[in-house]
């Protein structure tokens, strides 16, 4: 899932600027699961901004909405419709959600979150990055641990000299991915895999090849179907 966190309130306030009617839009998918942009956080932010507005007599009118996912045009449209009388939409979805709503909305959509990474909860309230989204997965070679996302240097053959007692030199809290890979391969009885050098990987499917587009041909509707569905012609 996508992990995000709320921007500092002061930054959100400065982003809102002189706008008065604000619709805070939550997302009930990833942003909600990582406790950044669900109904609960929408309510908290709404009260916080309301308090700020009252305090400075800004007269902000704040309303709230949450949809299943902001990263679908259908739901993005519902949010945009709800915002017809607003000046601005403050999205508590990830960066994808903000763009989807903006595409269909005639008023500005501002981000309330900083979108961070693809990961999951390590425990309640603690989220770790797990996947680098490189487009060319090598997890079968590395004991199920992603060196792209979890090694600070994204090394394909490690560890480097900065690995000390299982920790990465950049931060004593950061686990050394290659130490973890070693431990996992040992657990799986596959330590011999470490003697294989992993060759340079194909970076074309990563961001290095520009914005990515994935097409599932068998899922794409024909032009005719699209026209019928959308009532065109």
């Amino acid at each position: 899932m996508i992990i995000a966190e709320r921007k500092p309130i002061s930054e959100i306030i400065s982003i809102i600027g002189n706008n008065k009617k604000i619709l805070i839009a939550g997302c009930r998918s990833c942003a909600s699961v990582c406790m950044a942009g669900g109904d609960r956080e929408v309510a908290t932010l709404s009260e916080a901004l309301g308090l700020y507005s009252d305090l400075n007599s800004l007269g902000w009118e704040i309303s709230e909405i949450s949809k299943e996912r902001q990263c679908e045009k259908e739901w993005a449209r519902e949010i945009a419709e709800e915002a017809s009388s607003a000046d601005v939409i403050l999205s508590l979805g990830c960066g994808v959600g903000v763009q989807f709503i903006q595409e269909v909305s005639g008023i500005p959509v501002f981000p309330g979150l900083n979108t961070s990474n693809m990961g999951g909860p390590e425990e309640q309230g603690i989220y770790l990055e797990k996947c680098g989204g490189c487009g060319d997965c090598t997890l079968h070679l590395t004991g199920g641990i992603c060196p792209i996302a979890r090694c600070s240097k994204s090394m394909l053959n490690g560890p480097c000299g900065g690995s000390q007692n299982g920790k990465c030199e950049i931060n004593p809290d950061t686990q050394c991915a290659w130490d973890a890979i070693y431990q996992n391969l040992k657990r799986l009885n596959c330590l011999e895999m470490l003697s294989e050098i992993i060759p340079p990987k194909n970076w074309i499917p990563s961001r290095s090849g520009g914005p990515r587009k994935i097409i599932r041909k068998e899922m794409v509707l024909s032009e005719d179907e699209k026209k019928i569905k959308e009532g065109l012609e």
Binding site: I13, R40, A43, E47, A48, G59
Partner: protein, 130 residues
């Protein structure tokens, strides 16, 4: 500036202690357990004209449901940060771990809070229906 209004949010177990202390210019909001207290509730209280908020729960480790007062502390810390960010002093929010027979702790904290409010003044809530 003679009257300051302080909201005391407490759990069912502390309700009697808090009410019996009958603190002037205070309002009491009792929840089943402080585990229910969320950021929005406290922020709402300031918005509705509370000059300060006291969250009063049982002694840590003594919550009937085990997690209530830990959750309340997490929540209070979070709200303090938010308050500071929007220009309200975090001193206006305090959490107190109380045992039911220690109303005196509450009274002392209440007096301290009154002084804090006197020093800082009312938050200038104009939009609210005061």
């Amino acid at each position: 500036m003679n009257d300051c209004s302080i909201l005391i949010i407490c759990c069912e177990k502390m309700k009697e202690t808090v009410e019996r202390a009958s603190l002037e210019n205070s309002a009491v909001l009792a929840l089943p357990c402080l585990g229910r207290i969320d950021e929005a509730v406290i922020l709402r209280a300031f918005r509705k004209g509370a000059d300060a908020v006291i969250v009063a729960g049982c002694v840590e480790g003594n919550c009937k449901y085990n997690s209530g007062n830990y959750q309340a502390r997490r929540c209070v810390n979070e709200v303090r940060d938010i308050l500071e960010e929007i220009g309200i002093s975090g001193e206006r929010l305090e959490i107190l771990n109380l045992s039911p027979n220690q109303a005196v702790d509450l009274v002392n904290l209440f007096e301290n809070m009154k002084e804090v409010v006197l020093r800082l003044g009312h938050p200038d809530i104009l939009g609210a229906e005061r």
